[in-house]
């Protein structure tokens, strides 16, 4: 009897393994910066495009956290990852350099910046005046939602402890709305998000230096020929109708994918300095 049990569980394990990882297929992972259904809708055109172009299945996998995504990429469970610049720096810090496939080009530029803003009726004109004020950040792991603005504040002589209070509100739109609601004196978000809400009554008081956009990385030890093929495919997305549609689906305004090198992220790296590598637990404790 017991031998059948082993056989049964053996089969079950094989089946699950097969489900988790398509044989001969690839897995593209995205971080959970939006609801899963929304991410599914945004990235399905890309996976379908890649599946058709490669002749092998490319599956989408939505990571539970940014950390999980980095860990899975390191273990080789996922093959490709769509990753934010701050997470990329963390990835490099923890696991060394990975093969880069390309970075996004949004409205013709592969760089983006962040904005620190106040409400139009606010008296505040400079970062220094934010001492003893309430501040709204976005997500912990985002460059422009939290990490870079915190650095800018620190350079202006306002540490987190000098603020009357601050909150990590999750999404960057949430930070913008929080400032509009009047309960936070200032907030930080990508310039793109700031522009969306500017008309409702927001004013910029500081802008971060531009840093490189989101990027696609591959896991180490991926077949070099396949890697080269993938790179070519990503860079050629802008040349076909289906490719452009897949890019537009990821985020409106994406015009293409351009070559990326680790050095493109040096500006962000120097901007964040040691701050980047502080343990997350520290942030949560604050």
């Amino acid at each position: 009897m017991s031998i059948w049990r082993y056989i049964f569980f053996g089969c079950l394990l094989c089946f699950q393994a097969a489900q988790a990882r398509p044989i001969d297929g690839l897995v593209l992972s995205v971080p959970p910066y939006l609801p899963a259904s929304e991410l599914e809708a945004r990235f399905s055109p890309l996976t379908q495009y890649l599946t058709a172009a490669l002749g092998r299945e490319v599956k989408l996998r939505i990571a539970q956290t940014n950390q999980q995504q980095i860990a899975l990429l390191g273990r080789g469970v996922i093959d490709l990852a769509y990753i934010g610049p701050a997470s990329y720096l963390e990835l490099v810090y923890l696991q060394g350099i990975h093969p880069l496939l390309g970075r996004l080009e949004v409205n013709g530029s592969p760089l983006f910046s962040g904005t620190i803003f106040v409400r139009t009726d606010s008296q505040i004109q400079a970062l220094e005046e934010l001492r003893d004020q309430r501040f709204a950040f976005g997500d912990t792991h985002t460059a422009m939602g939290y990490l870079v603005p915190r650095q800018l504040l620190a350079r202006a002589g306002v540490s987190l402890n000098d603020l009357a209070g601050y909150q990590l509100l999750g999404g960057q739109p949430n930070a913008a709305l929080a400032v509009l609601s009047g309960h936070y004196a200032a907030g930080a978000a990508k310039t793109e998000v700031f522009s969306d809400y500017k008309a409702r009554g927001l004013r910029a008081i500081a802008t971060t230096p531009p840093v490189s956009e989101y990027l696609f990385v591959a896991r180490n030890r991926l077949d070099p020929a396949l890697l080269e093929h993938l790179r070519t495919l990503f860079l050629a997305l802008r040349d076909s109708e289906a490719g452009r549609a897949a890019l537009q689906a990821i985020r409106p305004g994406v015009t293409g994918i351009v070559p990326a090198a680790d050095s493109d992220y040096d500006s962000l790296r120097s901007l964040l300095g040691r701050e980047l590598y502080r343990n997350d637990r520290e942030i949560r404790d604050e």
């Binding site: 409400r119 009726d121 909150q167 509100l169 999750g170 999404g171 739109p173 949430n174 709305l177 929080a178 509009l180 609601s181 009047g182 309960h183 409702r200 009554g201």
Partner: protein, 352 residues
């Protein structure tokens, strides 16, 4: 006169009916209008209760600093409720935290505003501009259509009544124009018209047409003695008696003048006409109307002149009338209560 009265009564009847119809239509329109108002009020209540549900959710999101969620709630709510024209979530000083506006302009909009309190000294306002449900609008349109439709129908109905009344009036006038008011038989005008027609027909067919002229004997004395009312009564009785002696549709008994009657008998030869005349004389005799100054016997009697001919050439119908008149005169001369006929040859009169 009685017919005129009847005519007026009928008009009154139709007018009342039309007024009733108008009243019913107005009452119906009012009822539908009331329904519409009730529907609108209940819809407003639903909108307000739905809004308070939304307010609850938004307030919860705001209290948890989920501003983006509140914004999404507002947008989704607007998309899910097709009646929403404009929905916004605002701070008390007018900063917009979320808004939705419909692409279609509203038809019958109204504004609901609710204040959200989501923490100590924290407020926001929800402003909702909503439209009427399509069904409510349809109800109102239905009421309007009924009102307009009824008005049109009423107009058509009125026109039809007018037309019918005019035709009826015409018919009454026609009757008055061709009927003798006293006796109810054809009058002189009708007699002349029919004679003209029958005369021409007889000439065309070369058939014989007969005419009997009749006159009450000593009727002036009867009138003088018994009064005009009795005279009228006598005339009516005689007219009825004479009418009963002809049965064919084409035959016509008419009152020719005071106490003179004329009978047109188309397609009738002299002999048949003589027979009819005799029947008429007997019929009047059978009436036994007492005549105090009668020259023959004691009752009212009648003299008749009978003429018949086949119209020749361009002879006018007066020829026939003259012949019948002439022999009637002969009958009078002979003492009355008899008929005299022209000879089969028109030029000779025969005393019977």
């Amino acid at each position: 006169m009685s017919k005129l009265l009847q005519f007026r009564q009928r008009q009154l009847y139709w007018a009342t009916l039309a007024a009733l119809f108008v009243l019913i239509v107005i009452a119906g329109a009012l009822l539908i209008n009331r329904d519409y108002r009730e529907l609108r009020a209940s819809q407003q209540e639903i909108a307000e209760s739905e809004l308070s549900f939304l307010t609850e959710m938004v307030s919860h999101s705001l209290a948890n600093e989920q501003y983006r969620l509140a914004e999404l709630l507002i947008e989704r709510w607007g998309e899910k409720h097709p009646d929403t024209i404009y929905l916004s979530l605002e701070t008390p000083d007018g900063y917009v935290l979320g808004h939705y506006s419909s692409a279609t302009p509203g038809r019958d909009r109204y504004l609901v505003e609710q204040r959200i309190e989501y923490g100590y000294d924290r407020f926001a306002l929800i402003k909702l501009e909503t439209d009427l449900h399509a069904s409510t609008v349809a109800t109102r349109r239905f009421a309007l259509e009924i009102a307009v439709g009824s008005a049109v129908l009423l107009l058509l109905f009125g026109q039809m009544l007018l037309l019918l009344d005019r035709r009826r009036q015409q018919r009454v006038l026609d009757i008055w124009a061709h009927q003798d008011g006293l006796t109810g038989i054809a009058n002189r005008r009708r007699f002349e018209r029919v004679l003209e027609v029958e005369w021409r027909r007889a000439r065309r067919n070369q058939s014989s047409i007969a005419l009997i002229m009749a006159d009450l004997d000593a009727f002036k004395d009867y009138n003088d003695k018994l009064g005009h009312l009795a005279g009228d009564d006598c005339l009516r009785k005689v007219a009825t008696a004479l009418s009963e002696q002809v049965s064919r549709p084409a035959d016509l008994v008419a009152r020719y003048g005071g106490e003179e009657f004329a009978v047109i008998l188309p397609d009738t030869d002299l002999q048949s006409a003589q027979h009819v005349a005799e029947q008429m004389r007997l019929a009047v005799a059978r009436l036994e109307i007492a005549h105090p100054k009668a020259r023959v016997g004691v009752n009212v009697t009648i003299s008749l002149g009978v003429a018949a001919m086949v119209p020749m050439g361009e002879q006018p119908p007066n020829v026939l009338i003259e012949s019948a008149d002439r022999v009637l005169y002969l009958a009078k001369q002979a003492g009355g209560d008899r008929f005299v006929s022209t000879a089969p040859d028109v030029r000779r009169s025969v005393l019977v």
